[in-house]
Symmetry: C2
Subunit: 281 residues, 2 copies
């Protein structure tokens, strides 16, 4: 299993030699590795196949949760005769924020700064790239007659620049107010349910994609939901069957609400091991 | 996008307060988050659906590369009339090594030690768990008449303990020499092509799953393959169409051959950004 770790050590040694900051593992995996690229290509193959098939048989229900739904007892909005759409997050779902993360990797230890991110939105449109697999999948989905809508927490105040980032990467058309919804639309704040509700008033949403559970329902961001309860709600509850069947997740180990938890929260108490030789080392 | 980072900072602060080592982000994501669990469930839904469908129409060709194939010009083994099988890696493909990674997270900065890993193989069988989604998918695949075979770089010398880890997690039957192939089988060393060839002499392999590109072909581990060439071979070459269509990748940002690369290797030169306000901070 672990033999290939030698490569990582070698890379770390090379970086140290050149006095260059070491790239965090999550970024190496997501932006640099064949494995990371394969993962998003696989997700977009599944997304495209699912959407093209669903467009043919016209599902009765949307994949957006209805008012009053809970994680334990989900209910979905009925579709009526509304036209079909898919809803995707932008950052690390369809867009790789390469320029921003390059700058971040170049300044290790620097805390997150919302103002820096806002400057990135305003000036970084040329330093992004599409997530591998996204462009061809979105093209096939539009060809099947399904509208592609982005629901992002980028700022409505930078709508033109955010349109430019998506359209420049070949992911568009993204047009604020119709196919692009941003923070500040429908309601203030980062909750995405109000925007999903507004989109659902006009469309039957047959699939969603995102790298954060909040891209599917704000219920996953409820205050007080423990790390293990949140994982359980996604993995073993009634919603687990949706992954790859209406809800499509993109891997993002670089940032976000999944990067939480102490040792006791991440590792179950009944699955622990101590090296029997540890005392000798 | 980034608002939820507040959670991560909060967790870091809590860990620091308790004098507990901070869990690396990759482990938080893979073992602790709903996003990580959703990703593997999605991959196993796709794997199961693909295999059950392929078992019905009996493909002419295997998904194992033939002798003489290259990444640029792949060719596949013909299936003949051999019975159908799938081949999966074990660690972080079907098995979560929770006990080992718990111990690792508890000792930050400690370098990798192959002997410690070997002790884990011999004594850790009770501290693993199945990857979310794997157990039900493998059950459906066996029900469709397809043999499930594991091809792992765990050691043949610890065959009984490695069988116990897989079988105890509900992933078996794993039997060394038939449904479990280990390092030392077929040829010495960690290359998996010799074992794939030996399995292919008896079976038509209709799908493979792994968290490392070497779980699909040793060609990805060729010496001298740069970080960007390796990503390109997986993402844009003739093999890119296989992800989710015969080759199934599980996300692993915790260890492995994808965790390589300096800033210049991970981030393309034409997608860089510098914060225009950086001088002020």
């Amino acid at each position: 299993m672990k033999i290939l770790l030698a490569f990582a050590s070698l890379a770390a040694a090379t970086a140290a030699q050149a006095q260059e900051p070491r790239v965090p593992s999550g970024m190496q995996w997501l932006y640099g590795s064949g494995e990371g690229a394969a993962t998003s290509i696989q997700a977009y193959h599944a997304f495209r196949d699912y959407v093209v098939a669903a467009a043919r048989h016209r599902p009765r229900d949307s994949v957006v949760l209805a008012d009053g739904a809970t994680l334990a007892a989900p209910r979905f909005l009925p579709c009526g005769r509304r036209p079909l759409a898919v809803v995707l997050d932008a950052d690390e779902t369809v867009l790789q924020n390469l320029g921003y993360e390059y700058d971040d990797a170049s300044h290790p230890g620097r805390p997150y700064d919302q103002e820096r991110w806002n400057r990135w939105e305003r000036t970084g449109a040329n330093a992004v790239a599409p997530i591998p697999g996204a462009v061809t999948a979105l093209r096939a989905i539009r060809r099947a007659g399904v509208t592609v809508i982005f629901n992002s927490n980028r700022l409505a105040a930078a709508a033109a620049e955010n349109e430019a980032a998506l359209n420049g990467a070949g992911l568009g058309p993204a047009r604020h107010g119709s196919t692009l919804w941003l923070q500040g639309d429908a309601a203030p704040g980062s909750a995405k349910d109000p925007r999903r509700a507004a989109i659902s008033a006009r469309y039957c949403v047959i699939a969603m994609a995102g790298d954060q559970l909040g891209d599917f329902s704000d219920l996953f961001n409820a205050r007080g939901l423990s790390v293990s309860d949140r994982r359980r709600a996604a993995a073993t509850g009634p919603l687990a069957g949706l992954w790859g069947n209406g809800w499509f997740v993109l891997s993002n180990p670089v940032y976000g609400s999944g990067l939480r938890g102490t040792i006791d929260e991440v590792f179950p108490a009944d699955r622990r091991w101590a090296d029997p030789q540890q005392g000798n080392r």
